[in-house]
C-alpha cells in the first residue's frame, strides 16, 4: 500500500466530508471522537498488523505523523 492509498482508505473509513491530506490535523476534524480513534486503530491494525496504543493516539497530530508512527518504510 502506498501513502496515497492509505490516506484515501483512512478517509473512507472515517467517512470524512473533506479530502484528507498528509497535512490534515486528525484531531481537528469534525468527525474526530473516541469512535474515530477506534476506527483508526482498527484500520491500521488490519492494514499493517500494528496495534496503536493510547499513547500513540495521544502523540499523533497530522496524517503524516501517523504515517511516521507506522513507519515510512512500510509504504511503497
Amino acid at each position: 500500500m502506498n501513502k496515497a492509498e492509505f490516506i484515501k482508505g483512512l478517509e473512507e473509513e472515517l467517512e470524512l466530508e473533506i479530502t484528507l491530506t498528509a497535512e490534515t490535523d486528525l484531531k481537528g476534524l469534525d468527525e474526530w471522537d473516541s469512535m474515530a480513534a477506534m476506527l483508526l486503530i482498527g484500520y491500521v491494525s488490519n492494514e499493517f498488523g500494528l496495534t496503536l496504543t493510547a499513547d500513540d493516539i495521544k502523540n499523533i497530530s497530522t496524517v503524516q505523523s501517523l504515517i511516521e508512527r507506522i513507519g515510512v518504510e512500510k509504504f511503497n
Partner: protein, 242 residues
Amino acid sequence: MKNVLVTGATSGIGKATCNSLLNEGYRVFALGRDVEKIKDLLDQFSEQLHFLAIDLNSYQEYTKIFDEFLSGQKLDGLVHCAGMEETLPINLYTPEAVQRIFNINVFSGIELMRFFAKKKYSNEGAGVVFLASVMATLGQAGKTGYCASKSAILGMVKSLALELAKRKIRVNAISPGVVNTPMTQKLFSQIEEDNIERIKNMHPLGIGEVEDVTPTILFLLSEGSKWITGQNFIIDGGYSIQ
C-alpha cells in the same frame, strides 16, 4: 486422582486455574501455545501437570489431545479459558474478522465438547466450565464480535447441559468482569488513562484478580456443585448490577 483438561493454561485465568487445581491435588492436562509461559508450573508440579502445545484453531489436531495426550485417562473436568478479546468498530468487522473471533471463542469449545461428550474420554458426573464474560449479557461499543461470541457460549452451555445431563455431566459458564490478566493489560495499553480510571470505577469492588475467579471454577468442578447445570455465574465485583 481426578483429571481436568484446561485450555488457555499459559496465561491469566487459565494458568491460575491450573495452579489452584494442582494445589488441590488434581491431575491437570494443560493446553496452550507458548510453553515458556507455563514453565514455572511444569517445574513445580512435574508429576501432576502435563502440557501440550496446540493451536486450538486447528480442529483437525484435536484427536491428538484426546487420543494421544490423555494417554487413555478419562476426564473429570474441562475448563475452556482459551479466548481472545478485541475492539473493532462494525465498519471493520469483515466476515474474516468475525470468523477469527468465533473460531477460538466459540467453535473450539464446541469441537472440544464433541470429543469430551464421548464415554471413552470423560467420566460420569464430570464438570465443564466455559469462560463467558459480563459482555455476554451487556454491550459495549466496538465489541460486536466479543459480545456475540460470549453470548453464543451461554446458549451453547444451556444446550449442552441438557444433552449431557443423562451422563450427570454438568456444563456451566462463568462471566467475569474486568480481571487483571495479560488480556486486560493489553486492552488497557490501548485506551487512555482517564478511560482506564472510568472502567475501574465502574467495578464497585474494584477490578478483579485471577484469585477472585478461580474458586468458583473449582467449585463448579467439585462434588458440591453436582446439582448445578446450565447456569451462568457472574463474578464482576458488582459491575453489572448498576
